[in-house]
């Protein structure tokens, strides 16, 4: 076992260089101003600036709303689809899953461009276009996660529920649904995280003035070249994401422990 553990060393180096160090730099940038890596002074100005100007919190709020609504739509569409697929015969399931993953073989950016073409003459509002783009892009993650937990469910559990007097609806409510919660939660995580931070979908589909938190960050890093403020926004968003992930984890535990309806 020990010698296998050594196989992770290249990966640890990799994430240290490419993830941990840049993260630390973001933290550093967020709490400093001006200067370079050699001469800098600590400050909380970047955060004050974010919360003093009403526009920034409102963008954050808008991003969260769009991500939450996207996640809910994906869940509402994804669960029935995943459930339907899990009820099919094995080879049919494989085919449908293949069809669902098929579009992912094409770059997400390219697909979003395609949607821009499709939706340009539709006359839909910018919000609608962004929702369509988001749901389209992230729905497969929801379906695959839920399908994963449904398809590996032991069929004898469902039979046991029937045997104990539960009809189809009750069996779903008391057995199938609770047992699929882990899949639902990981589906939610996998949709919510990219949705909250996505910047090219709103940019391509929402038009130039459709700004979400991802666009803000992109803007401050690339256009304005204000890395300190960009880092502060990134950090704020990271905290929001961490809190929401923690809440999801808690929800998972609660479902595991308490039952009763």
């Amino acid at each position: 076992m020990k010698s296998f553990a050594r196989l992770t060393i290249p990966y640890i180096i990799w994430i240290t260089v490419l993830i941990v160090i840049p993260m630390l730099m973001i933290v550093l940038y967020a709490f400093t101003k001006d200067g370079t890596l050699l001469s800098f002074s600590f400050t909380l100005d970047n955060f004050l600036r974010f919360f003093q100007d009403a526009i920034f919190p409102s963008v954050l709020w808008r991003s969260l709303v769009i991500a939450v609504v996207t996640t809910i739509i994906c869940l509402l569409i994804g669960y029935p689809v995943a459930y339907g697929i899990a009820k099919m015969k094995n080879h049919q399931q494989a085919t449908i899953i293949l069809l669902i993953t098929f579009p992912m073989w094409i770059n997400m950016l390219v697909r979003t461009y395609a949607w821009r073409g499709i939706l340009s003459a539709s006359g839909l509002s910018a919000d609608m276009k962004v929702y369509i783009g988001m749901v389209y892009n992230f729905l497969p993650f929801m379906i695959l996660q839920i399908h994963g937990s449904l398809s590996k469910m032991d069929n004898s559990l469902i039979q046991a529920a029937y045997d104990l007097g539960a009809n189809k609806l009750e069996t779903f409510k008391r057995v199938v649904l609770p047992l699929s919660i882990p899949g639902v939660l990981s589906g939610i995580t996998l949709v919510f995280l990219p949705a909250v931070s996505s910047f090219f979908i709103p940019k391509l589909l929402g038009g130039g003035d459709f700004v979400l938190i991802g666009n803000l960050i992109e803007n401050y890093f690339i256009t304005t070249n204000d890395w300190n403020f960009g880092s502060a926004i990134s950090l704020i968003m990271a905290i929001v994401v961490l809190v929401s992930m923690y809440l999801t984890k808690r929800a998972d535990k609660n479902v595991g422990e308490s039952e009763d309806a």
Binding site: D154, S156, L157, Q159, A160, A161, Y162, D163, L164, G165, A166, N167, E170, R174, V175, P178, L179, V255, G256, E259, D260
Partner: protein
């Protein structure tokens, strides 16, 4: 007792595969019924039809006189203990057991009372908050039983529930299940392939085979009066002998007449006879009714399992010619090759005769300089379709070759009408090293002599169980040796608590009532 369940001519097909071939079976109140049979006999299918998880292709299932074929599983007054228990992993012990009561929307305090009573019935008091996935197999089993029984079903179905438990726990659960069944006083239908389990717990055993019921009876009926060889071999151990019924209370097998207690057969009707191993006594010579030789003695704990041969098998003796080693060396390739002259039956000279057969018969082998075995890549021969002596040449890829004589002879089969056995074996030649290097000498001798035996009735192969010779394979020298190949004769399995010596001559004794005569199975 009141009749509770009736299967009426139930047939089940899966994709044209008939799994149940018209089952008729009545089950009464308060019975512990066991469906016994090997896997694939349809016992689980029958149970699932009763549970409502499968529909019968035709026929009907009556419950209390009404057809329940159309009643869905969740409306039947029947609960099931599943093979792998199927406990709900997201619920604790209490909630698993309370599942059915909550569905019925019973008041909370009633639910609690009932669950607690069940927990004490299955001896799991204090386990209500436990996580079911962390329980042992036996405990999960108990939860599954409690979860089913708490609904107060009229019938409890148990689908091989003890299969996953170890032996000691299984015995404990057998007693436990029987106790629970007697305490709650409802019908248990238990599916198993374990005959001992069936005998221990059941009021009634239903022996099944390939979708058909073979016998229905109490454990003692099924054990003492099996209706055919299938039931006799499946339930308990047995000696099965083919014989003829001469008249009422008189049966003949192995050329001798015996008194028995069975009647109602036609005169000279061919029958199967079963004698249980524990019903035969080993006594000194001249005090029994059959003489025989002790072939093996196995210690089984409570008793010895002794095999006694009363009629010896069919045998054939051949000569083995042992030559000095005579490798041919090919110094150019650094290889050595050896092979022996051999005899071969004219009938074997067909197109089916492969190079590999000839290599085996001649015991042809080649080595490189490191003594690693090489493959023989080419075999050439000059066989004609008549007796005589022909050359056979074996060659390696590098051209190291050896030629030997193959002597083709007329078939020389020995046919024994009494035991209905044919046997053939041929003289053969080997080298000293062949014998010394042999890992499994008996098997090699059979191969070199091409010893085979078959049934004269249907040509099916019969095992050669004995190879007799009187040389020591460690110190063998050149010369000729006799080797005898023998099939199994009439061997009785006997369970006794007295130890006997192997190879001793003994007599066997059994009473007329120990002989149980059965009709031949049709088909």
């Amino acid at each position: 007792m009141k009749k509770l369940i009736s299967f009426k001519n139930v047939v089940k097909e899966f994709n044209g595969n008939v799994v149940l071939k018209g089952i008729n079976l009545d089950i009464y109140e308060n019975e512990f019924v066991t469906l016994l049979g090997p896997s694939g006999c349809g016992k689980t299918t029958l149970l699932r039809i009763l549970g409502g998880f499968l529909d019968a292709t035709s026929g009907s299932v009556l419950f209390d006189g009404t057809d329940i074929s159309k009643v869905p599983a969740y409306k039947r007054p029947i609960n099931t203990v599943f093979q792998k228990y199927a406990l709900f992993p997201h619920l604790n012990v209490y909630d698993n057991i309370a599942f059915g009561l909550k569905i019925k929307k019973e008041p909370k305090d009633i639910i609690e009372q009932k669950v607690m009573r069940m927990l004490s019935l299955v001896n799991l008091e204090g386990f209500e908050k436990r996580n079911v996935t962390l329980l042992s197999g036996g405990q999960q089993q108990r939860v599954a039983i409690a979860r089913a029984l708490v609904n107060e079903p009229e019938v409890l179905l148990l689908d091989e529930p003890l299969g996953a438990l170890d032996l000691k726990l299984r015995k404990e659960m057998q007693r436990e299940l029987k106790r629970i069944q007697q305490e709650v006083g409802i019908t248990f239908i238990f599916v198993t392939h374990d005959q001992e389990e069936a005998l221990t717990m059941s009021d009634k055993i239903v022996v099944m085979k390939e979708g058909e019921i073979q016998q229905i009876g109490t454990p003692t009926d099924v054990y003492n009066e099996p209706v055919n060889t299938y039931v006799a071999t499946f339930v308990g151990e047995s000696n099965i002998i083919e014989g003829t019924m001469l008249a009422d209370r008189q049966v003949r097998f192995d050329d001798k007449n015996y008194e028995c207690v069975d009647t109602g057969f036609k005169q000279n009707e061919p029958v199967d006879i079963v004698i249980r191993p524990e019903d035969i006594d080993i006594v000194p010579l001249r005090q029994g009714i059959l003489n025989g030789t002790v072939k093996s003695v196995l210690f089984k704990g409570v008793h010895y399992e002794v095999m006694v041969e009363t009629v010896s098998g069919t045998s054939k003796t051949v000569k083995m010619h042992v030559n000095a080693n005579h490798d041919t060396t090919n110094p150019d390739a650094g290889e050595k090759i050896s092979a022996n002259d051999f005899f071969i039956d004219l009938e074997d000279l067909t197109d089916d005769l492969t190079d590999a057969d000839l290599i085996t018969r001649a015991s042809a082998q080649a080595w490189d300089e490191n003594d690693e075995l090489l493959s023989i890549s080419k075999v050439s021969h000059t066989f004609e379709n008549k007796p005589g002596s022909y050359a056979v040449t074996f060659e390696t890829a590098k051209g190291t070759a050896i030629s030997v004589k193959a002597i083709v002879i007329e078939p020389d089969n020995l046919e024994d009408e009494k035991t209905n056995t044919g046997i053939a074996a041929y003289d053969f030649t080997v080298t000293i090293d062949d014998i010394k290097d042999s890992v499994a000498l008996d098997t090699d001798l059979k191969m070199w002599a091409n010893a085979t035996a078959w049934s004269l009735e249907d040509d099916s192969p019969i095992d050669i169980v004995e190879v007799d010779y009187d040389f020591d394979d460690e110190t063998i020298a050149e010369g000729s040796y006799s080797i005898t190949f023998r099939t199994k004769g009439r061997v009785f399995k006997i369970h006794t608590t007295d130890k006997v010596e192997e190879d001793a001559r003994v007599a066997l004794k059994f009473a007329p009532e120990d002989i149980h005569v059965m009709r031949k199975e049709v088909g």
